[in-house]
Amino acid sequence: EQLKLGVSLPLSGPASLAGTSIREGIEFAVKQANQKGGVFDQDVKVFIEDDEGNPTKGVTAVRKLIEQDHVVGISGTYVSAVAAAESKVAKEYKVPMISAGSTSSAVTDANTAGDPWFFRAFPGSRAQAKQTASDTLKKLNAKTVAVLYENSIYGKSLADEFKSNYEGIGGKVVAMEAYNPGDKDFYSSLTNVRAQSPSAVYIAGLMDSGAQIIKQAGELGVQTQIVGSGSMMSDKLIELAGPASEGFAVSSMFEPSTPNKHGAEFAKEFRAAYKKEPDVYSAIGFDSMGLLIEAARRAGKPDGAAMQKQLLNMPDFPLSQGPDRTTAKFDDKGSVEFKVGLAIVKNGKREWLPFD
Amino acid sequence: MLECKSIDAGYGKVQILYGLDFTVPKGGLSAILGGNGTGKSTALKTLAGLVKPTRGEILLDGKRIDGKGAHAMAAAGLCLVPQGKEVLGGLSVHENITVGAYHRRKDKPGIAEDVEMVYAEFPRLKARYKAPAGLLSGGERQMLSLGRALMARPSMLLLDEPSAALAPKVVGEISDIIRKLRARGLTMLLVEQNVSMALELADEVHILREGRFAYSRKNGPDLKVEELREFYLGKGQS
C-alpha cells in the first residue's frame, strides 16, 4: 500500500515567504526517503495544498487532503491561526498533523494530554520566549526592553510570554507595541522607543517587518541591542537591513553551521541538492515530513491512528534543529522541548552563540 | 457644402433613418421639421459622427467625413448643438465655453475675443461664469451649448432645437444670431419645433416622417403654412 501524506502551507499571500522555504525542506525529505527506496516498497506520495494563510481555506484544504487524497498524515501549517483551525479537523479524522512552522503554544495546548493529534517538532512560543527572555537579560545584559510585536497569534503569543518571563527574572519591559502584519514604516514607533532608551528592543514578528525595524532604528539613531524572534533567522534580513543589522541577535533553532550533527548533514545534502543554504524553515519542513514518514514506517501500515501512536514514542529519532543530539521526544501535548539558541550578526554573518 | 447621400442609420439593430438624401449649399440654411420621435435628432447625430450610418455617404466640402468619429467631424469644422441641454456639469461656465474652441486651441487671441463675443450675446452666462454648469437653469444651459458651438468657429453648424427652453425674447435673439452667422457665410442645418422661426430663417425645408423625408422644398413667399401643415401635422404623428 502506498504511503500518502499531505502538506498544507501558505504558498500565496503574505505568508508565502516562509511557506515556499518550508516546502523545499518537505520536498527534500520526501526525495531523500524515496531515493532510499520509499516506504512499504513504494514511493511516498505527497499532496500539497495552498491554504493561503486563511483558516477557512485551510480547513477545506485539510478536508480535501483527507477525504479526497486519502492522506494519513499532514505536515502543516505555518500560520498559527490556520493550524489551530486545521488541527480540529485532523483530530476528528484521526490524522496526525505536524506543525510546519506554526509556533504558538496555544495549538498544542489545545491537545488532549496523552492523545495529541497536532505535533510540533520544536519548542512552542512559550519555551522560545522564555529562552529569549533569559538570553536577553543574561547573555546580552539588557535590563530594560521595548517589545514590538506583530499583531498575529505568532507575534502576540511570543510577546506576551516574553514579557511575563522577562519580568519574572527581573527585567523591565518599558513598552509593548503591536504592529499590523506587513507594516513597513516604524519611524513613529521607534521615535517613542528612542525616547525611552531601553537597553534592548525585542521584535516578535516576521522577517520583512523585522528588517525594516532594524534598518529604521539605525536611521533614527536608536542605539540599543535588537533581538528578534525565530522567523528573522534569514540572510535576506541582513541584506535588507544593511549595516544596521550588525549586532542584531536572533533566537534560532537551526543554522547551516549547526553543531547538531544530524542538522549539519541535512545542511550539506540540502546545499548539494538546491545549490543554496538551508534556513530554519527548510529545517522545520524537513523534520516535519521526516517524522511523518518515519512514523508510518514504524507503524508498518499507512494508518493515521497507528502513526500517532508511533509519534508519541520516537525519542530516538534525530532532529536537524536544536543542539546536537536533539531528538523527537514529544511530550504528552505533542510538543518537543529543546534549547533554543541565539545567533548574533557579526560582519554581515550570523554566528551562533554557544548553548549554555 | 454638406451632402448626404442615401443615409441609413439607427441604434443597434433598430433602424431609424431610411435613405436620407439632401444637400445644404455653402452658406445655406436648411431646416428639418417633424413630429416627435421621427428621427430628427438621429439625423443630426449621424452627421456629427455620434451615430454611425449603416449606409450612405456624408461629404463636407466634397470630402467624405462619415465613419471617422465625432472628434474628427469637429476638427473638420462641423459642430453640433445637441438637444437636451447637455453641458459639462462639473466644469465652470467659463470652461464650458472655452472647451468649445478645443480644435483651434493654438489661436489664443482669437479665443479670448470669441469668449467676449459669447458673453456679449448671452449676458446671463457672464453673470454665472464661475458657476459649475451642472447648476444652471434649463435656459442657461441652452445658451451655454450655443456659446460653446460659437467658440468652435465652425464652417457647418447643426442646431437641434436651439429655441427650446428659452424665453421668447431670447428666442428672438437666437434668430438674430443665426442671421448674423449666415451673413458670415456659415452653412447651417436647423431642427426646430418652432415652425415660424424655422420658416423665417430657412432657405429650404425638409419634413421628416418616420425616418424618411416626406416633403422637401425651397422656402419662399409661395410656401404656405397650410401646405406644410398637411405634411407635417399630417395624420397626427407622435
Binding site: 483558516p55 477557512t56 477545506t60 480535501k64 491561526a81 480540529k88 499583531n151 497569534i153 502576540k156 | -
Partner: protein, 302 residues
C-alpha cells in the same frame, strides 16, 4: 413559483451530487457554496437592485459569526438562538452603517463601505479581550448536527429558505422601489417614495442575511478568526454578484457557485491557480458583460 421550484431542484441536485458522488471534501465545499450563495444573493439586494456598491459584506458576515461565537462563549446560548441574534445584530449594524451612507453616492459610498469593512476587521483582530484577537473564538458544533453531512443538510435548508425569502422580497414592492432608487433617487422621492427608509431597510435586510451566513460559517469551521472577514473577502463577494449577473435572481447564485468551486477545481494547478483565477475573472467580464445569468437568458432567448 417557477423560481421556487427551480431553487428546490437546484438544492436537491447539490445534495445528491455532494453526498452521493462526493465525500466529506465535496460536502465541505457544498456547505461553503451554500453560505456564499446566501451572501451573494443578499449582497445583490443592495448592489444589483439598489446600485449601492458595498464592499462591507464580509464585515456583516463577520459580525454575525462573532455574535454567535461571543454569545456561545459568554452565555452558552445555542445555535437556534444565535442564528436569529446574529442576523439581528448584523442587521442593526447594517442600519447604522446606512445612516452615514444615505447622502453618499457612487464611488464615495463604495469607499465608505471599504472604510467600515476595514474598521470592523481591525476591531475583530485587535480587541483581543472581546474577540479573542487573532486567536479568535472556538465554536462548538450544533447539537444534533455534529457530522459534516447532517450539518450540510441544515445549511442547505437554511440557504433554501433564505433564497426564497430574497426572491419574494425582490419580487415584492421593495424590489420595485430599489430599482427606482438605483435609476434616479430624486425622481423616486418626487413620486412619493421614502427612499431613505427604503435604503436603510434594504441595507439592514441584506446585512442580516449576511450575518446569518456568518453564523453558519462560524459553526462550520467551528470557530471565528478575523482573517475570514477581510476586504478581500468582501471584494470576492462583489465579484460573485457581478460575474453572475447583477439584479437577476440567478446571477449571484451562479456567481457564488462558480467562484467558490473554481478555486477548488483549479487547485490541481496548485502553483498557477491564482493566475488562472485572475485570468478567468477578466475573461468572463469580457465575454459575459451582463454576467453569466445574462448570458444564459440571452442564449435561451435565441
Amino acid at each position: 413559483m417557477r423560481a421556487i421550484f427551480l431553487i428546490l431542484v437546484a438544492a436537491a441536485t447539490l445534495a445528491i451530487v455532494s453526498t452521493v458522488f462526493g465525500g466529506g471534501y465535496a460536502i465541505n465545499i457544498a456547505i461553503v457554496v451554500c453560505i456564499y450563495v446566501i451572501l451573494a444573493s443578499s449582497l445583490d439586494i443592495v448592489m444589483g437592485w439598489t446600485g449601492l456598491f458595498s464592499f462591507a459584506h464580509a464585515a456583516f458576515l463577520g459580525i454575525g459569526a462573532y455574535t454567535a461565537a461571543i454569545l456561545g462563549r459568554d452565555f452558552g446560548t445555542t445555535f437556534w438562538l444565535n442564528l436569529p441574534l446574529g442576523m439581528i445584530v448584523a442587521g442593526l449594524f447594517g442600519f447604522l452603517l446606512g445612516l452615514p451612507l444615505l447622502r453618499a453616492q457612487g464611488h464615495f459610498l463604495a469607499i465608505m463601505t471599504i472604510a467600515f469593512q476595514t474598521i470592523v476587521y481591525l476591531v475583530l483582530s485587535q480587541w483581543t479581550d472581546f474577540t479573542g484577537g487573532q486567536y479568535g473564538i472556538e465554536v462548538e458544533p450544533v447539537a444534533g448536527f455534529t457530522t459534516l453531512s447532517s450539518y450540510f443538510y441544515l445549511v442547505l435548508v437554511i440557504a433554501v429558505i433564505c433564497l426564497i425569502a430574497i426572491r419574494f422580497l425582490t419580487q415584492s414592492r421593495l424590489g420595485d422601489a430599489l430599482q427606482a432608487i438605483r435609476d434616479d433617487e430624486t425622481l423616486a422621492r418626487t413620486i412619493g417614495m421614502n427612499t431613505k427608509a427604503v435604503k436603510l431597510v434594504a441595507l439592514a435586510i441584506s446585512s442580516a442575511f449576511a450575518g446569518g451566513a456568518g453564523v453558519l460559517l462560524a459553526y462550520h469551521i467551528r470557530g471565528v478568526t478575523p482573517d475570514d472577514y477581510t476586504v478581500l473577502a468582501s471584494a470576492s463577494i462583489v465579484a460573485m454578484v457581478v460575474l453572475g449577473g447583477r439584479g437577476r435572481f440567478w446571477g449571484p447564485v451562479l456567481g457564488a457557485v462558480l467562484l467558490t468551486a473554481l478555486p477548488e477545481m483549479l487547485s490541481i494547478l496548485t502553483d498557477y491557480k491564482h493566475i488562472f483565477y485572475g485570468g478567468v475573472l477578466i475573461l468572463v467580464t469580457m465575454f459575459a458583460p451582463q454576467g453569466l445569468a445574462g448570458k444564459f437568458s440571452r442564449w435561451r432567448a435565441r
